[in-house]
């Protein structure tokens, strides 16, 4: 049975963005536009060694050859971006790097509080190490000492470039090459900051590593760069959560995340993305063009991506796994929600290279309002991937008649013993379900939230507990307006 007109109407009504505020912290930035000078400025600001500057410049020169060659294949529409009309660097004014939270700009801490992320509380209560990226610079890093005892490195990328050049030089760009795609190349030239993690051989990281990203300064393209290396037989779980303030101009965000799992290592990477999605007519909102990729470099290694994408005007994102090592495992669990005029084109690539490699893809797409949600996934079995296996399940849930859910699987099997299995369903929230919930006393809003959370359960289960609760709330918030 189709959903009632009331529900459709209600969902169309824009939800007020809960985290919409702009905090006034002075920033420090070069003029608009991109040139070699901008890159030299960024590199100098960050006190980078010359090899890093050269790497950036090489990327920039390559990017110049890509003019007008932004990827066109995704099912998303937006006006052409004028890359000379953006700022490429912005940092909060902090004199010295803070040693503890007490030294952090109190304005900044207030922002985190508004976001419901009291750092102090987190530090004290949850045992989560937080490397908070505010705009482009990491301003607070906790638990460093504790992690240090185990030989774990968890710091900002800028710091890693200075302090751990041998690791950075070895792995940066080794999973997402500089020339990978237009946005990744751009990121390589101008990346601002991000997290760096190294887990030594045989070490099991005793806590979830967590970073909250936040875009703040007006008109600043954000180019985070994150690199996580899990050495042999190590384990790490990393959480990334994002919210952004409300604003009118579209903001470009083009991050690159690279994961490297060596023999027997396991990396779990979870994201809750809640950037400003634009208003109900699609005005404003973040353009989120992200390249995330992991390499299961060693035998029996494992990489698992879990994402809950509720924000951004446009999401273009395909967290992928290169299954190089024999018996390695790749997983992708995704929930993507679009409401109003949001567009998401997201999925994964599982590239089976080694023998007995396994991958699992579970994608849940929810569309409401005029939202367009596309799952795009590639499963490739290379000629040497004997006995490789993939299982893919893509479910779409539609709320109302004006939204769209699309599934675009690409399956390439070049090995006779490899198997790929694909299942897809499309369903609607029925009037029967809404009536049943409301008859039991739930508001329409809570009913939608309950039904949607049920739909996403297999993915939400994969998130760490604290994150799962936050994600459930976010799903409710982003579908708000379904109140009858």
């Amino acid at each position: 049975m189709a959903v009632s007109q009331d529900t459709v109407e209600a969902v169309r009504v824009a939800s007020e963005y809960k985290y919409g505020f702009v905090s006034d912290i002075d920033d420090d930035r070069p003029p608009k536009g991109l040139s070699e000078d901008t890159i030299r400025y960024i590199s100098a600001k960050k006190e980078e060694p010359i090899w890093m500057l050269d790497w950036r410049l090489a990327a920039y020169r390559h990017w110049l050859t890509l003019e007008n060659r932004e990827p066109q294949w995704a099912k998303v529409e937006f006006p052409k971006i004028d890359f000379q009309d953006l700022y490429y660097y912005s940092a909060p004014k902090v004199k010295e790097g803070p040693k503890s939270l007490d030294e952090v700009d109190p304005e900044l801490l207030k922002v985190y509080e508004k976001l419901g992320i009291p750092l102090k509380e987190q530090e004290a209560l949850s045992g989560i190490a937080v490397d908070a990226v505010f705009d482009s610079i990491s301003v607070a890093t906790t638990y460093k000492a504790k992690l240090g005892e185990l030989g774990i490195i968890f710091c900002s990328m800028s710091e890693a470039v200075r302090e751990h050049p041998e690791l950075v030089r070895k792995y940066l760009g080794s999973v997402v090459p500089v020339a990978d795609n237009f946005y990744a190349t751009l990121n390589s030239a101008v990346f601002s900051d991000g997290s760096f993690v190294y887990i030594p051989k045989g070490v099991r990281c005793p806590m979830e590593l967590s970073t909250y990203f936040r875009i703040n300064a007006s008109n600043t393209g954000q180019f985070e760069r994150t690199l996580i290396i899990a050495d042999e037989n190590s384990y790490v779980s990393y959480l990334e959560g994002c919210t952004a303030p409300m604003r009118d101009e579209n903001q470009l965000h083009a991050a690159v995340v690279e994961l490297v799992a060596l023999e027997g290592a396991e990396i779990k990477y979870a994201t809750v993305q809640n950037w400003y999605p634009g208003d109900k007519d699609g005005k404003g909102g973040i353009y989120n063009f992200v390249t995330k990729r992991g390499a299961c470099r060693g035998a029996r290694s494992k990489i698992s991506w879990t994402q809950v994408e509720t924000g951004s005007a446009i999401t273009w994102k395909y967290p992928s796994v290169l299954l190089e090592g024999d018996d390695s495992i790749g997983e992708f669990y995704s929930v993507a929600v679009v409401n109003n005029r949001q567009q998401a084109d997201t999925g994964t690539k599982m590239i089976h290279i080694g023998r007995n490699t396994r991958s699992t893809i579970i994608s849940k797409g929810i569309s409401a309002g005029h939202g367009q949600n596309t799952y795009r996934g590639l499963v490739r079995m290379q000629p040497k991937a004997d006995n490789a296996r993939n299982y893919t399940q893509c479910d779409s849930l539609l709320i109302g008649p004006d939204c769209g859910g699309h599934t675009v699987p690409y399956i390439e099997v070049r090995n006779r013993s490899a198997r790929a299995e694909h299942e897809a369903t499309t369903s609607k929230i029925s009037d029967d379900q809404l009536f049943y919930c409301r008859q039991r006393g739930l508001s329409t809003e809570d009913a939608v939230s309950v039904i949607v959370n049920g739909f996403c359960k297999e993915v939400l289960q994969k998130l760490p507990m604290e994150f799962a609760v936050e994600a459930q709330k976010l799903l409710g918030i982003s579908l708000e307006g379904s109140v009858g």
Binding site: F435, Q439, R440, G441, L442, V450, I451, G454, F455, E458
Partner: protein, 250 residues
């Protein structure tokens, strides 16, 4: 005499532009159980949906007073919170939502409206398990997705479980007996009888007088073509069993 719990006066209602209820009158006192019988398509489920406030069921005239207030002015969930419970003829499946999670949200929504404290997970589960045991239900059904893969009879039992947890003041049971095996019928009836109380009333919709041996009604109404055409005591059900609706429901 105190005001009745539920008073339906000259109720007319349309579904998809078609008039289904055509001048229905019914008065239900607190503490009473009334049975509603009647041929297929006579409007029994429609009446239950109209009382519960389902979208698409349009009341064109008449009134419904519940606990002295205009029931028709309330939204579906407000009616539920005010104490109206409908055990559906065809309970709905909600994939991925554990039975207990769903009902805890519902019970707390209703309790909040009544100004009662919220049950935490532990308190809720304790009560839910006790009710489950009374209804001889396997506790695995608490963690399974709501009604998904439940057999017909299991779904109906689950409705009664929800009713017991929500403690409504007006319970409408739409053919809760159909699909139940003989033992289940007895167990469900015991569950329903346990909820009979001086401040609670029930409308029991059924096709079978057998149910009324277990849940003994104060009155039996016959609904035909959108109206109550005959009202009697328990013996009316026995009579209908012999004669069918031929003489009454033209």
């Amino acid at each position: 005499m105190s005001a009745p719990l539920l008073e339906i006066k000259d109720l007319h209602a349309k579904v998809d532009g078609k008039e289904i209820l055509r001048g229905l009158n019914l008065t239900l006192e607190a503490g009473q159980v009334h049975a509603i019988m009647g041929p297929n398509g006579s409007g029994k489920s429609t009446l239950s949906y109209v009382l519960a406030g389902r979208d698409g069921y349009e009341v064109t005239s008449g009134s419904v007073t519940f606990k002295g207030q205009d029931l028709l002015a309330l939204a579906t969930e407000e009616r539920a919170r005010a104490g109206v419970f409908l055990a559906l003829q065809y309970p709905v499946e909600i994939p991925g939502v554990p039975n207990a999670t769903f009902l805890k949200a519902a019970v707390n929504a209703v309790r909040a409206a009544r100004g009662e404290s919220q049950y935490d997970a532990i308190e809720f589960l304790k009560r839910a398990k006790a009710k489950f045991a009374e209804l001889k239900m396997d506790p695995v059904f608490l963690s399974r997705a709501l009604n998904v893969g439940f057999s017909g009879g299991e779904k109906k039992r689950n409705e009664i479980f929800q009713m017991a947890m929500l403690e409504p003041s007006l319970a409408i049971l739409d053919e809760t007996d159909s699909g139940l095996d003989i033992d289940a019928l007895r167990i469900v009836s015991e569950g329903v009888n346990a909820l009979r109380a001086p401040d609670r009333a029930m409308l029991v919709i059924t096709h079978y007088q057998r149910l009324l041996d277990y849940i003994v009604p104060d009155k039996v109404h016959v609904l035909s073509k959108g109206r109550i055409v005959k009202t009697g005591g328990k013996e009316l059900a026995l009579e209908l069993e012999r004669t069918g609706y031929a003489g009454i429901a033209a």
